[in-house]
Symmetry: C2
Subunit: 168 residues, 2 copies
């Protein structure tokens, strides 16, 4: 039995199956709009925003609402089947440390802590990267839970984000 390296379309099919299976397992109803959103998400190789997903879904199902797309995306996110880029979902956060350093991001409270590591600073990227363009800066983003959130038993999924804004 030969096993070919999964190509894009094969991965897409797998992902779609994953979404529906997980939904069924979670007792979530498989509405036609959800199925279509699943198809679009399973097929994408990029990092779309909600509106891009909405547009793609509308091409096939013109009546889906913006809201349903958002709700489905966050639901999948809660199930750990889609991720979001960057540490903060809401407002822009600034960093006054412009030297080389890395980040520990707490998924519970949103706190971001710097850490330094000479090893990580000089990280070698795979050679194929040079064909993409020019890289100016490389940094590591480690996600997890800080001690406080661990003790508080806060969930990993960034749900109860009651804003740990600093500089109070």
């Amino acid at each position: 039995m030969t096993r070919k390296k999964p190509d894009a379309s094969e991965a897409s099919t797998e992902r779609l199956a994953l979404y529906t299976a997980a939904s069924r397992a979670a007792g979530i109803r498989l509405t036609p709009q959800r199925l279509e959103i699943f198809r679009v998400l399973a097929a994408t190789e990029s990092h779309p925003d909600a509106e891009a997903v909405h547009r793609a879904v509308q091409r096939v199902m013109p009546t889906v609402s913006r809201d349903t797309v958002y709700r489905t995306l966050w639901r999948l996110h809660d199930m750990g089947l889609v991720a979001t880029l960057g540490p903060s979902r809401d407002r822009v956060r600034f960093d006054t440390n412009v030297g080389p350093h890395h980040h520990l991001v707490c998924l519970g409270c949103g706190l971001v802590q710097d850490f330094v590591s000479a090893t990580l600073d000089g990280l070698a990227l795979p050679p194929g990267v040079s064909q993409w363009g020019r890289v100016y800066d490389t940094q590591v983003e480690a996600r997890g839970l800080c001690l406080a959130c661990l003790k508080a038993g806060r969930a990993t999924r960034e749900t109860t984000q009651e804003k740990a804004s600093d500089e109070r």
Copy 2:
């Protein structure tokens, strides 16, 4: 002449000097509100959002406007003296690839490309990290310019972001 390891307050002073020097060099006026914002930024060890900075500045100068804080932050950002967290300044972007992988972020057009690297997947973080909490996931974010943006001579500073939304 002894040279102690720069502590927080020393680094703060240095940073303040840097801000004012760079501003003067750029012909930017040193208004009292800017100076106060500089002080707050120079003193912070965290990753505040604009509102947190505004609150901190208001404690000393109750009349500063939200807008002035924004303008100053972006000005410093343009000068390369403050950074922002994460690849996207505006809307949330989703990632359907939940397996271990890393990102190439183009600062010109906003495109984010996946890349894989077994070496980077198993990255060892410095030991001190264990005292912060538990890390579930580690990924590398490499920022730069993609070939298209390099050829187009687009600036590194994410200015001309005329939205490269995919799934068109």
